[in-house]
Each structure stands twice: as structure tokens, then as C-alpha cells.
Symmetry: C2
Subunit: 130 residues, 2 copies
């Protein structure tokens, strides 16, 4: 046999074991949200090293694992690189509309933050909260 060493298996939860709380928790981190947004934008599989994240390699590994174990992404080895993609069909089947509204919300917030950074006015026109 050619494979005497570890076969490089990656544990993924089956669709029925994906839990909403864990998915929301996975998405509640800025770094992971960024990964998910890029994964959604480019519709192909992306390697971990594709991302330019503000953390070290080991932290990156950690975040990708959280995403995988919560069922948000699917990971497969291709030689020495690991390819990542969103589990769109599973997520859409379990939680219809959730992923899209989170992505839209993240996009909207990113735009809002960019605008806020461009306009250095201190006490801008802020409507009081109801």
C-alpha cells in the first residue's frame, strides 16, 4: 500500500448534525466572516493561502477548523494545499435565506464602515434609536 501514514481525513458534520447555534457562532467572528464573504464572492474553491488574513498561520488553521466543524465550509486536500468552499446547498436546505442575509448584512456593514472612515466628521447625523 502506498499510504502507510495518516490518510489526511477531514471530519465534517453531516447535514443533519449542523446546528444553528454553532453556525451563528462560527459567523460571529470578524476573521471568519471575512473568509466566508470571500468564499461566497469567488464561487470556486479557494486554498487557505489565498486569503490575506491579519493573523498567523496557526490562527488561520484554527478559524478554518471552526468553520468546517460547524458545517459552514467543506474542505478537501489537493496535494499539499487545502481547498475550501461554502456548503451552500446544505445551509440553504437547513436554514433557507440565512446565509444570504448574513452575507448581505456583512456587505452592508462593510460599506457603512467605509463611509464612516471616509467622512471624518465627529458627531455626524446620527438618528436616535427610536
Amino acid at each position: 500500500m502506498t499510504t502507510t501514514t495518516t490518510p489526511r481525513v477531514l471530519e465534517h458534520p453531516t447535514r443533519d448534525r449542523i446546528r444553528l447555534e454553532e453556525v451563528l457562532h462560527a459567523l460571529s467572528d470578524a476573521v471568519r466572516l471575512r473568509i466566508v464573504r470571500e468564499l461566497a464572492r469567488e464561487e470556486t474553491e479557494l486554498s487557505c493561502s489565498y486569503f490575506d488574513l491579519p493573523v498567523t498561520k496557526s490562527t488561520t488553521t484554527h478559524h478554518f477548523r471552526v468553520l468546517r466543524e460547524s458545517g459552514v465550509i467543506q474542505q478537501t486536500y489537493q496535494g499539499t494545499t487545502k481547498l475550501n468552499c461554502l456548503r451552500r446547498s446544505d445551509l440553504d436546505a437547513l436554514f433557507p435565506g440565512l446565509l444570504d442575509s448574513v452575507l448581505a448584512a456583512a456587505g452592508a456593514q462593510a460599506v457603512r464602515e467605509e463611509e464612516g472612515a471616509r467622512r471624518p466628521g465627529p458627531g455626524g447625523p446620527e438618528g436616535e434609536p427610536a
Copy 2:
């Protein structure tokens, strides 16, 4: 002077300070998700003691505070009780569709879990995850 003691102020983030990551984190806990679901079902303001939660009073206080500080709920004192309601308009304006899809997802998952509990079959008809 009627108010010599603490005026019982409750800090809420203004709409523009509500952050998606914090909202998702607030919703990623089972107890808090339950609170939010009930708050959405009954459309009126509910007191903290209305909820029958599997935790002590102090833990309940903690969860309500997380929900309030993340901008998910609005709390107001009415005498000795505290009334809670969802900040629907703020959330819908900031993150259109998000709250509804989370609520729908939570509902769907609850149904799925009830069915799973009712059907004690071990390896039931579970579609493999793609």
C-alpha cells in the same frame, strides 16, 4: 426630590453602533435564541419573569444584558419589572431579512429536533451530505 437613588438607566447601543458580529454572537446561544423566538412570537413587550428558562435568575439577567448590549432587544423598566421587546425596525433596517431568517431557521431546527425525538429509530433515512 423623587429620585435620589439610581435612576435605573439601561444602556442601549444606538442603531449605527450595532455590529453584525455581536448580533450573531448574541443569537448563537440556545437560551438567548429561545428568548428571541418567544419575543418574536408574542409581539408585545414581555417581562423577564415571563420566560421559563432552565437557568437561575442571575444567569437570566446576564443573557438579557447580552441581548440588550448587542442591540437585539430593547429593555425598559416598568416599576419593579423590566419589559423586553425586539428591536425589529433597527435590525431590519441594518440587516434586512436577517432576523426573519434566523427565526425561521430556529423554528425549523426546533421542529427537526422534535421529530428526531419522536422517531426513536437509530439509523433513520438520513440523506448523506452531498
